[in-house]
Symmetry: C2
Subunit: 412 residues, 2 copies
């Protein structure tokens, strides 16, 4: 048993690496109907089960013909074609176009045998029901979508790990796939800690964290509030560890006399504290442990500290659990600072500053919000946070920095 | 009755303005528990029901004291304070600090009467349970969050129209609000049109559009597939108009012999076509009508045309219906083009090109994808589209243009 419950303040990158080492992506797979699959993580490759389109297809309402028959056509010497029939979209026919013939065809219709060009309706002169005149030479496969031009049979369209989007469903439904294999959602239990919360009968932070978990594709499980005593905390953690993939505790992980979460964890056999504090403020108390291999994220109880802690270790952990491996990267964008700000920084800690995007110029312009880490206003009014390195004492107007967004931009 | 079912190709901006004139924001309000409120649109202002915090609050674990008592304190001449008791977080006490006294206090504890500074635990020397020594002068209200510093009683925290986010719930729960008034979701019925879809028993586009509607906060209602005849289309539209706030038809709105949606609409008494075609390709067939005041969006049936039509008129309509008035703006970002592309443009039409963000540099770098408007690949692989004006024949490498994202960035 590793008993160091005292703070070490690991550099953030290393803390993240250490924590993620103990996160195993979920392997359980479930099948959902395609209309319930949006935002779920695909657990199989989706391969084109046929050429798409399956046959050469008309891109216009017009006539399917042989381009060879059109070579001599001009305004002065129009060519007459005999219409042999009509072809509707997506319908397989047994027709064959011979010299001097054509078939009326709709957009999406499959070309009959022998046809190798589409003559748009607008460019023809209709003589009667069975005859048209053309006045312009066609090109081979003009206005034709070739079989397999969109996707070739056997080609992987969606890779395992893709987060399904509405626009993916069109092709999936077209291929007559009715359900998809997706990974089970990660179950994240939340334990709020503090006698004062029990007195209030309410843990506001739990509402925020559980809905953030939902937004990042996890399934929150509210385990209620633990009293400020080791036994209660430990028994709730032990209980949660049997029901969830990751445990999040809120509060009780600092150095005060009622900060007992680390002790509670260490009172459980087979537990180990992996990260005890990170070099980032607010949120430096954020810690990470395992009991019987089950990961526990300890978040501090002040709103801003909790938020930074959750985004620093919690979101990447949830992403990895959920098989959304590269998703985190899409949370960082470059922004331009709207006005100079002095940074109250302290070695060896990075400083997280909350930023509000106030203008979407070429590079989004961001106003930095400041105020005590107990205030909720900065969280409510900001769109993300910027990490200022420990030695940096100010941020200049117009400076371009990276911002971590609270909501990822979807760039898969 | 306005009978013009023939194309006019309205400039996109004007088409949008005309269509939105016929969209009335939903006024129906429903109450949902706060944990079901995320992504719903707030139908009330949320006002601080008290100062937040309600009293001067300690930002540290330490001692609540009178700063006047600390003025003479120095390392050489420490000052002794008598500890009169302890104050837990969020607990209202009736204590009063007198000269030479202090109360032990936790982070989040309310200052007792008379106290006007917090002395952090780390800066004191504990003599015994009832006595501490301090060696440093405090400042007035040092480490104190003043009552109302976060929000003042009566201040509007969230305005009607806000799309609720997880981070909003912390404060809402803190104020003991258990449910929120939100606008009813807009119900959007979807009618796919085409005999070939009936033959297939499947409308792939419906899956995409209905899930997009869901993603933008609406409630899709799949009304099935209409045959290519006026009566069937008209009866499905009439039925849908009684059950939904907006009707979306897919397919059947071009100029072919089986394009009967416009005729079907005009066969219904009290109908009017408001926009017949837009000056944007793909998607130029996109049209807009009303029957008995109920709006109908006609989308073309080819995948790319449908997508552009839906984002051009459908998304803004859905946003306005849903009371998300300014949300659309957040869908446009500046991007830098990765390589020169020739644009096949045709007056008077704008050209929509699909773009894939390939690098998040200062300005996101975008690759333009090209291919027939029947191909799904461009939709699947892109993150949005760029609108190229009719006269513009090429896009240069490094050029900075606006891109409409498929998924909005949340900047409220």
């Amino acid at each position: 048993m590793y008993t160091n419950k005292y703070f070490k303040y690991t550099p953030t990158e290393i803390a993240l690496e250490k924590a993620l080492k103990h996160i195993k992506p979920i392997e359980d797979v479930e099948e959902v109907s395609i209309d319930k699959a949006v935002n779920r993580v695909l657990a199989e490759d989706i391969v084109a089960n046929n050429d798409i389109p399956p046959y050469d297809t008309s891109h216009f309402d017009g006539y399917a013909a042989r381009y060879e028959d059109t070579i001599e056509a001009s305004y002065e010497t129009p060519i007459t074609l005999i219409i042999k029939g009509e072809i509707k979209p997506n319908t397989i026919v047994d027709y064959e176009v011979k010299a001097g013939e054509a078939y009326k065809i709709s957009t999406g219709g499959y070309l009959p045998k022998g046809a190798n060009t589409i003559i748009p309706k607008e460019t023809t002169k209709i003589i009667n029901e069975n005859k048209i005149q053309i006045t312009r030479k066609s090109k081979p496969f003009e206005h034709v979508i070739k079989a397999g031009e969109d996707y070739r049979r056997g080609e992987t369209i969606f890779k395992r790990g893709r987060i399904i989007e509405p626009k993916d469903l069109d092709l999936i439904a077209y291929m007559k796939i009715r359900s998809l294999k997706v990974y089970r959602k990660a179950v994240i239990s939340i334990i709020a800690v503090g006698d004062e919360l029990i007195a209030e009968g309410n843990s506001p932070h739990t509402h925020m964290i559980s809905n953030l978990i939902r937004e990042f594709g996890g399934e929150p499980m509210d385990m209620g509030i633990a009293r400020d005593n080791i036994e209660d905390i430990a028994s709730k953690i032990l209980n949660a560890s049997m029901k969830s993939d990751l445990i999040v505790t809120i509060g009780g992980c600092s150095v005060g006399s009622t900060d007992l979460v680390a002790d509670a964890i260490l009172s459980i056999p087979n537990s180990q504290i992996i990260v005890r504090g990170i070099r980032r403020v607010p949120g430096r108390q954020t810690s990470f442990a395992i009991i019987n291999g089950k990961p526990i994220l300890m978040l501090p109880g002040l709103i801003q500290s909790m938020t930074i802690g959750f985004y620093t270790l919690g979101v990447p952990a949830l992403m990895k659990l959920s098989n959304m491996n590269t998703h985190c990267k899409k949370m960082v964008i470059k922004v331009k600072i709207s006005r100079r700000v002095k940074v109250e920084n302290m070695l060896p800690f990075e400083r997280a500053l909350f930023g509000r995007i106030i203008e979407l110029e070429d590079i989004p312009k961001v106003e930095l919000l400041s105020g005590s880490s107990m205030l909720r206003r900065m969280i409510i009014e900001s769109h993300g946070f910027l990490i200022i390195p420990p030695f940096k004492r100010e941020v200049l107007e117009g400076e371009v920095l990276e911002m971590n967004l609270f909501k990822p931009i979807n760039l898969q």
